[in-house]
Amino acid sequence: MQEFIEFTLGGIASGMIYAAIALSLVLIWRGTRVLNYSQGGMAMFTTYVAWLVIRHTGSYWAGFAAALASGLVLGALCERSVVRPTEGRSPLNSVIVTIGLLIFLEGLAGVIYGGQYRSFPAAYSLNGLKIGKFALGISPNDLFTAGAVLAAALALALVFRYTSAGLRLRATAFSPVVARLLGVRIGRVLTLGWALAGLFGALAGVLVTPSTFLYPNSMDSIFVLGFTAAVIGGLDSPGGAVAGGVLLGVVLSYAGGYLGNDLVLLYGLVVLALVLMVRPSGLFSAPRTRRV
């Protein structure tokens, strides 16, 4: 029983991390219809910025703020310089461009900071929480991570639904031509979308990196699981991103704990396959009209 609780809570905690990445992917997809393959790389880069700030100032929260700010800037910069020229072309062009961007960012990080592991601090203690003598298997930092991700998901959902910026984002993705005809400044909206995605990605980076350690490829494997979580939840839904993340985290935790750890990634594939077979557009996507 103890083990089961630890597996469950641990799975939720790790699932929140996948959800963090998934959220930024959902944002970019819902706002710009681009699959941003460099999301993890951008998050790694902003985490290095945070690491530098923390090293110089000694303050974690200064680094946290620096990461979020640099995420905004990096996102906007990438969109304007590299992704904008692919607008209107085949969607695969933007995929390749973001792949190139990822490779470039990883190489740049290696050149500037070197390849070795850097330790990145967590916001709160990593010691396990206990209720009396009963160890829960999660730490205060896990609670902070979960809270931050849930707050971010809520903020994202609110932005999309209730703000005019969110409306413009959705309109641009849905139909750029009509949106333009209605007076939406498409260029500005796309940049905003990428800037926000950079912000969320930066958040994911600082939440994740304490347990992956910081090095140029630190976000590679987390990105895959985050992408899977986003697909499971439905790429149009911030709530789906969280649900997909938690589902994936919990299933992997049970599978790894009870069935053995060699095939953890395969279990992830099975979960994804099962969800997509039942709902081909993810768990929380809008119901699709029946096609002929």
Binding site: S125, K130, P210, S253, Y254, G257
Partner: protein, 442 residues
């Protein structure tokens, strides 16, 4: 006439001094009239020896391991600055394979076919080097001192040109297992190991020594998945009091952090591969500054039991460590002086030993014969196994505990073999000191 003792002593001293001077004159200076240097093999010219290697310089396997080749290169530069190998400079061309066997095959083909290297030195990684070992042997290129603890390099019949160097994982597992058997009799043991041949060979060695009944859990991890909570939860649920970890440093750190989270504090026994105190402290240092917690990076590594086959970096009176420190401060100031740097320097030293033994104008076979004839111990704490029937390298290690960021030996050097029943014996001979010049004698 009776001579006073002082006079007699003086006469003896004088004779001795003359004798020493004569000997020194005889051996000092380059022997004039020695053979001219020729291009005696591919990669060897009268002025240089070109060797190649494949290393993970970028990618997920790079952190830490990307220090080894620069460290070996630093030692070669030192040797080059002090006369080289019979006057030739060593040029070390190490190429990036990102730990991908396909890339390994590409770069090794480039080194052999295009750059015409004399030998491949210290190719890093088991799956990566397995991609090229057949090719190197069929092309008769010396493949020396592979940077991997797999026992697959010890196959003189199939791979006559391939030699291992470091303590292989089965030997290490046996030494760790034997220590646990003696010092933790009756305690419950759990395994935590990487799901490749590093971890599996280590577990094999452990199982040769530890009784099955003592092992209550055996948890493997996949390096692509950084969440090890399921494994640690299972270890805790099984009640493991000692956890033996065949893990790389990142996963040793993750094991420690996750154990903190789960309020689980077994005694950790970690393979040399994953226990370097400096690397671990670097990984764990951020978790020192916790609100209210009093852990520090060093405190998290305190008490970890491990083994070592090179002298402890904390043993500043050891002549090898003094040599490494000198080389590090001159040639590698940007890198930490950690286990990977020591490894690179030590294996570079072994290569120079072998090249000097191979002769003034060596062919490729001369290098193979030189190693087959056995090599002096160098920086390792135990002898090499090299012979024409055994291509394994270092044969033993000492047990140690991590105290205040350095390895403190807790016992003598233990030597063993790869077999299930081979005994573990104590090495009685002390480690030979480093040469004063830092360069082995021919």
């Amino acid at each position: 006439m009776r001579r006073s003792p002082k006079t007699r002593l003086g006469a003896v001293a004088a004779v001795a001094a003359v004798a020493l001077a004569a000997a020194a004159c005889g051996s000092s200076g380059s022997p004039s009239g020695s053979k001219a240097l020729t291009a005696s093999a591919p990669g060897i010219t009268p002025s240089q020896i070109l060797i190649g290697s494949h290393q993970p310089l970028t990618g997920v396997a790079a952190p830490g391991y990307d220090e080894i080749a620069p460290a070996s290169n630093a030692y070669f530069q030192y040797v080059n600055a002090h006369g080289g190998i019979y006057g030739r400079k060593i040029v070390y061309k190490y190429l990036n394979d990102q730990y991908d066997p396909t890339d390994t095959a590409s770069v090794v083909h480039q080194l052999v076919l295009q750059d015409n290297v004399y030998a491949i030195f210290n190719g890093l990684g088991t799956p990566t080097h397995l991609a090229v070992v057949k090719y190197l042997n069929s092309s008769k290129v010396p493949d020396v001192f592979v940077a991997s603890g797999c026992e697959c390099w010890n196959a003189p019949g199939t791979y006559p040109d391939t030699f291992g160097w470091q303590l292989d994982y089965i030997r290490e597992g046996k030494i760790l297992g034997s220590y646990i058997k003696q010092h933790f009799a009756g305690k419950k043991i759990g395994y935590f190991y990487q799901d490749d041949e590093f971890g599996m060979d280590g577990v094999k060695g452990l199982n040769y020594e530890l009784p099955k009944s003592q092992v209550v859990a055996s948890e493997s991890y996949n390096p692509a998945v950084t969440n090890v909570a399921p494994q640690v939860t299972a270890l805790k649920a099984a009640g493991a009091q000692v956890v033996v970890s065949f893990s790389v440093p990142a996963f040793t750190a993750l094991l420690k952090l996750t154990s903190l989270k789960l309020s689980f504090s077994p005694q950790l026994v970690v393979s040399d591969v994953g226990s370097d105190p400096i690397t671990l402290a670097g990984l764990l240092q951020s978790f020192a500054k916790q609100g209210g917690a009093t852990v520090s990076g060093n405190a998290l590594t305190q008490g970890i039991i491990t083994d070592g086959y090179l002298p402890s970096l904390g043993d500043t009176s050891n002549s090898w460590i003094q040599l490494f420190t000198k080389l590090h401060s001159k040639y590698l100031p940007k890198l930490p002086l950690d286990g990977n740097v020591a490894y690179g320097l030590a294996v570079g030293y072994t290569f120079v030993q072998a090249m000097l033994k191979a002769g003034r104008n060596p062919s490729r076979q001369d290098l193979i014969n030189a190693i087959n004839g056995g090599l002096p111990q160098g920086a390792a704490v135990a002898p090499y196994a090299y012979s024409s029937s055994d291509h394994n390298g270092i044969t033993g290690a000492y047990m140690a505990v991590v105290k205040n960021g350095v390895l403190v030996p807790t016992g003598p050097v233990q030597v063993t073999d790869d077999s299930p029943t081979g005994a573990i014996t104590t090495e009685t001979a002390a480690q030979p000191a480093a040469p004063a010049s830092g360069i082995p004698s021919p």
